[in-house]
């Protein structure tokens, strides 16, 4: 079952690459829908009381001790669903606008989905690393080929920068992952199964350096302050539908990695570097928020807001507290749900104004009240207004951090106020104020609405009952956090 | 005579050859210097062969002589080809490929 979820996108991607041009969008769309249905079936069938489920475990490279091992637990179940979901509007949006070299585009996009799903499903550490590295490749092409050149920065150079910087961490992580397996085996049978590795444990001396190899990969991917140097150029270059899924899902893989890999396998190091990580997270929150409200490019506002949000998520994870980690996981999903429509809305705004700078914008709500309301809901989600699931995520995160370090919690909470400012500013400067010449206040079309509204509806449903997610994730997350807690004692 | 002297001589031969490669600019002379270097190796080999009193080293030296000849042949061939193309026979002038 999980194999089907994993490979369906790639298979359909290949078909769309080879299919006649006009069928490519349909093939790709079908592929993402099938993936979504399969993921939904798995999520519905998920039993929160049992740990790892739907396990697939086949020897892949016996010579290297690597297994093709998939599984789903409370941590990954909704992230898989989010991944399956996020790609649907991205494909639909591209299909509705048409694109150059469509077959190749959908192939890359769907290959990216397979890689991302792989990272969430993998239960073998090296398989995880492989998919983690693989993710960036299709996006490199997507951003580079279909991206747009900005002043002084071509899409090509922006993406080279992106792939170099994100892979810096990934390669170190590869060394680290190998080291984990080898050191844990201690001359015995080599295995990279995450659960077994967590059980075997590592000597704390090795944990310390391996921890940073993993952290480098995850922090760059998020990206976290001060490792976000690649982000602005890449975000500005990227085609928006691809950027939507990139920002919504790929950035979460880093946070997921902390939760799934680092916490259980390197509990001593986690304990040791907890404060450092909390400070990095705090830096991301403050810096990301402040940057978000000085920027006028919508993509960068959202980009830096992601830096801040990922900061919150990291904060929650490294609170090493049940509420913090659960909040972080919930927040990963919430943020994904917010970002996908946000970037599509940016695309719609750009279609109406011909620009992505909020400087000269305004008044788009005039003839487009529905559009404005959709954007308003998304904005409120972004700033985590109490009543949204995002708020519950932040609330639990802050609660977790509060139990760990009061000062950090209080400083972090100022990020909430800054978020209110930059998110609202983004909304106001586009939708409100006078409508300048040359901007076209046009209502959102039904077709575009169908891409965005379902996700917005999911946001609203979750706002009424975030427990839908928390109920399933709770046990797995608590088990993960418990490992670190034990190490602390 | 003690083996040391042969070894010193071989080392000198080798070093002179290497120095020649470093300082001479005419490819033909450079090829000559290469022969010196090989001869240095061969002499050392011969001395050790005598020292150990087995024939392997001597066989080896025979082979080395052949190899050296072959090398020079190819080298000279290339020099001739360059000469025919009116390329100056100066290794310092061969700077098309660099950077």
């Amino acid at each position: 079952m999980l194999s089907a979820i994993l490979w369906t996108p790639l298979a359909f991607g290949l078909i769309s690459l080879l299919a006649p041009r006009r069928f490519a969008p349909w093939v790709a769309g079908t592929g993402t829908l099938i993936t979504l249905v399969l993921a939904a079936i798995v999520a519905i069938g998920f039993d929160s009381s049992q740990g790892l489920q739907y396990v697939v475990d086949v020897t892949w490279i016996p010579g290297l001790g690597i297994n093709y091992s998939l599984g789903i637990d409370g941590i990954s179940v909704f992230l898989v669903l989010l991944t399956a979901l996020a790609w649907v509007p991205a494909v639909a949006f591209t299909a509705s606008r048409g694109t150059d070299r469509a077959g190749l585009f959908y192939f890359m996009l769907l290959a990216g989905q397979t890689a991302t799903l792989g990272a969430f499903l993998a239960q073998d550490l090296l398989l995880f690393v492989l998919f983690f590295d693989l993710m960036i490749v299709p996006f490199y092409f997507l951003f580079g080929i279909w991206g747009s050149d900005r002043e002084g920065v071509t899409a090509g150079s922006a993406t080279v920068k992106m792939i170099v910087f994100t892979l810096i961490g990934s390669l170190l992580m590869l060394v680290g992952a190998v080291a984990v397996g080898v050191i844990a085996a201690d001359g015995g049978q080599l295995t990279f199964n995450m659960a077994e590795l967590a059980e075997k444990g590592l000597p704390s001396g090795s944990q310390n350096w391996i921890f940073w190899f993993f952290a480098a990969a995850f922090l760059v991917k998020m990206p976290a302050f001060p490792l976000h140097g690649w982000m602005p150029d890449a975000y500005r270059a990227a085609p928006l539908p691809a950027l939507a899924v990139f920002s919504a899902v790929l950035s979460k893989v880093g946070a997921y990695g902390f939760l799934k890999v680092v916490l259980p396998i390197m509990p001593d190091a986690v304990e040791l570097f907890q404060t450092t990580m909390l400070i990095i997270a705090l830096g991301s929150i403050i810096y990301g928020s402040v940057m978000a409200f000085t920027k006028i490019d919508l993509r960068l506002i959202l980009g830096f807001s992601s830096v801040a949000q990922l900061g919150f998520i990291t904060l929650g994870i490294f609170a090493l507290d049940s509420t913090g980690a659960n909040g972080a996981l919930l927040q990963m999903i919430n943020h994904g749900l917010v970002v996908v429509p946000a970037f599509l809305i940016v695309a719609l705004i750009a279609e109406r104004t011909g620009s992505e700078d909020i400087g000269p914008m305004g008044g788009l709500a005039k003839k487009a009240p529905v559009f404005a309301v959709i954007f308003l809901i998304v904005t409120m989600g972004t700033l985590a207004i109490p009543g949204s699931a995002n708020f519950i995520g932040e609330f639990y995160i802050l609660n977790g951090v509060f139990n760990t370090d009061v000062a950090i919690a209080i400083i972090a909470s100022s990020g909430v106020a800054l978020a209110a400012f930059y998110a609202l500013r983004m909304y106001q400067r586009t939708m409100h104020n006078p409508l300048p010449e040359g901007s076209d206040s046009r209502e959102i079309s039904v077709r575009d609405g169908l891409m965005i509204v379902p996700i917005v509806l999911i946001m609203i449903v979750l706002a009424f009952c975030p427990q839908i997610i928390l109920g399933d994730t709770r046990d797995s997350v608590d088990a993960t956090v418990a490992v670190s807690k034990e190490a602390a004692q | 005579m003690a083996i040391e002297w042969y070894l010193v001589l071989s080392a000198m031969l080798f070093s002179i050859g290497f120095a020649g490669v470093l300082v001479r600019r005419n490819p033909v002379v450079v090829l000559l210097c290469l022969e010196l270097m090989l001869s240095g190796g061969a002499l050392a080999m011969l001395s050790f062969s005598r020292l150990h009193g087995d024939g392997d080293g001597q066989v080896f030296v025979l082979m080395v002589l052949v190899v050296a000849a072959a090398e020079v042949v190819v080298g000279l061939g290339l020099v001739v080809a360059m000469f025919r193309r009116r390329i100056p026979l100066d290794v310092d002038e061969m700077k098309e490929l660099r950077g």
Binding site: L64, V160 | L31, M45, I87, L97
Partner: protein, 497 residues
């Protein structure tokens, strides 16, 4: 004194005999104009037969010719890879101006001689065969580099390669003399026991000998700081020759490197591992850094080859069987990627009037998928990105390094790989993300060598497709290649602690 004729194991020798026969045949063919056109077929047939015989000897583990050669897993595996590389080179040669210049059978005869030297080198287990085989593969290669007689660069590359190569050979020879002097033996096992029994393991003169042999071999596999010929020769030599030597010289030289260092010098591994690790590190840094900002694709691949050699050397540093396995795997993968890359370059060259500048690749992602895809896959594989064999190769190396407590060298490889992304990805970016420049489209069709149909020539396309397919295939299903590599490592299992 009675003379006992040595028993000759013809089965074990059969690949060498076949190669020699093919070589002689080619030289004969060169004489007769009427049959000259069959030369490539003869060459391919010879290679195919050799490959067949090698597979036949898959499980062999016997000394040949009184122990001067040894056919075992290591030899078979490496010879097979060399033969594959040669076959690709033969295909790519067809229609190349250098082949035209030198005369087709002569050109191929030189090539086959070089291959013969390499095959012998993989089997060499004696200093004499080691040296002869090394020279047998090197000397024809010097000539091959200069075969494009009309091009000044080609001649320059040939002469540079020859002179620097000979310096390397002489150094190697001198080192051999010193080792021979210390151990009183020329066969590898004899050296090992001679050194151990003589208590000369940390003797200065022995170590100097080891150092000089290391220098000689490092030169062949383009290890910095003995690498400087590499970019020049890669760029100047005819592309099919570059294609051949890029992987094959590394294969052959690494085979003997493994055999000599891990058999003959195994007792003193603790003496030389640090220096080799240092050389590997220097290579990784110099190669990767040098490749940045190159404008010639072949030259860039030359530098990249220096860096890759550094990665591979790490497999020897660890002095374990797993290291050999990883190295073999990496070399096989490297062969596949290089085959794809150079085949693509050959196709592109013939279309673009022999330009190998990276700029000339602008926009070919759209106009010329048969160049673009293999080149892209090759670049991704060289950069070690999944899902290519390059990724698994690095993984394998990391594992070997970590197990042998050489993690810092693994980190060096990781850092080198990061730097390498800059230039590999720049090529990919040029292919896919830059609009076609006017210059690359305006190829004067009257110019000699312009072959607008080159993407339709099966003998050019085949290596490109096979290479890139292999790079992907073994990235997804690496186990067959892992086992293949382990076959080489197993041959030394008994000898490596």
């Amino acid at each position: 004194m009675t003379f006992d004729a040595p028993t000759i194991d013809y089965a074990g020798l059969s690949p060498i005999i076949t190669m020699t026969a093919g070589l002689v045949l080619l030289v004969l063919v060169a004489v007769f104009d009427g049959v000259k056109r069959t030369a490539p077929a003869i060459a391919l047939l010879t290679l195919a037969t050799t490959a067949g015989l090698l597979i036949w000897q898959w499980d062999a583990d016997t000394p040949l010719l009184n122990g001067s050669l040894q056919i075992d897993g290591l030899a078979v595996v490496f010879s097979l890879l060399v033969v594959i590389s040669a076959a690709a080179a033969v295909l790519l040669t067809i229609g190349d101006p250098s082949e035209h210049q030198a005369g087709r059978p002569d050109f191929l005869a030189l090539l086959m001689a070089s291959v013969l030297g390499m095959v012998m080198l993989t089997m060499a287990s004696n200093l004499i065969t080691f040296f002869i085989a090394l020279e047998l593969f090197s000397i024809p290669l010097y000539a091959l580099c200069g075969t494009n007689l009309r091009k000044r660069e080609s001649l320059e590359a040939g002469l540079k390669y020859l002179i620097i190569g000979s310096v390397g050979s002489a150094t190697l020879l001198y080192g051999m003399a010193l080792i021979y002097g210390a151990s009183a033996a020329t066969d590898f096992t004899g050296i090992a026991s001679g050194l151990t029994e003589g208590g000369l393991i940390s003797d200065s003169l022995t170590l100097v000998g080891v150092g000089m042999i290391a220098v000689g071999l490092a030169f062949k596999i383009s290890i910095a700081p003995f690498h400087q010929w590499t970019p020049d020769v890669y760029q100047g030599a005819p592309t099919p020759v570059t294609a051949f030597m890029s992987a094959a010289t590394k294969l052959a030289a690494f085979a003997v490197f493994i055999r000599f260092f891990l058999v003959a010098l195994e007792p003193m591994a603790a003496e030389w591992d640090v220096i080799l690790a240092a050389l590997a590190t220097i290579s990784i840094l110099v190669g990767n850094v040098g490749a940045i900002a190159q404008s010639s694709l072949k030259r860039m691949l030359g530098y990249s080859g220096v860096a890759q050699a550094g990665y591979m050397l790490a497999g020897i540093v660890v002095a374990t069987q797993q290291g050999v396995d990883a190295l073999t795997f990496y070399l096989a993968a490297y062969l596949a990627m290089n085959m794809a890359a150079f085949a693509a370059i050959v196709i592109h060259e013939r279309q673009s009037g022999f330009s190998d500048s990276i700029e000339s690749l602008r926009g070919i992602g759209r106009s010329n998928p048969l160049v673009a895809w293999p080149l892209t896959i090759a670049m991704l594989a060289l950069a070690g990105l999944p899902p290519t064999a390059g990724f698994i190769g690095k993984l394998y190396l990391f594992q070997a390094l970590v197990e042998a407590d050489w993690t810092w060298l693994g980190v060096m490889i990781a850092i080198g790989t990061m730097i390498s992304l800059v230039y590999y990805m720049r090529v990919v970016a040029t292919i896919w993300m830059s609009p076609a420049s006017d210059a690359s489209l305006q190829v004067p069709s009257g110019e000699p060598g312009v072959d607008l149909d080159s993407p339709r020539r099966w003998y050019l396309v085949l290596p490109a497709i096979l290479g890139s397919a292999a790079a992907i295939f073994f990235g997804i299903i690496p186990q067959p290649l892992v086992e293949f590599a382990q076959h080489a490592g197993n041959a030394l299992a008994a000898l490596i602690s």
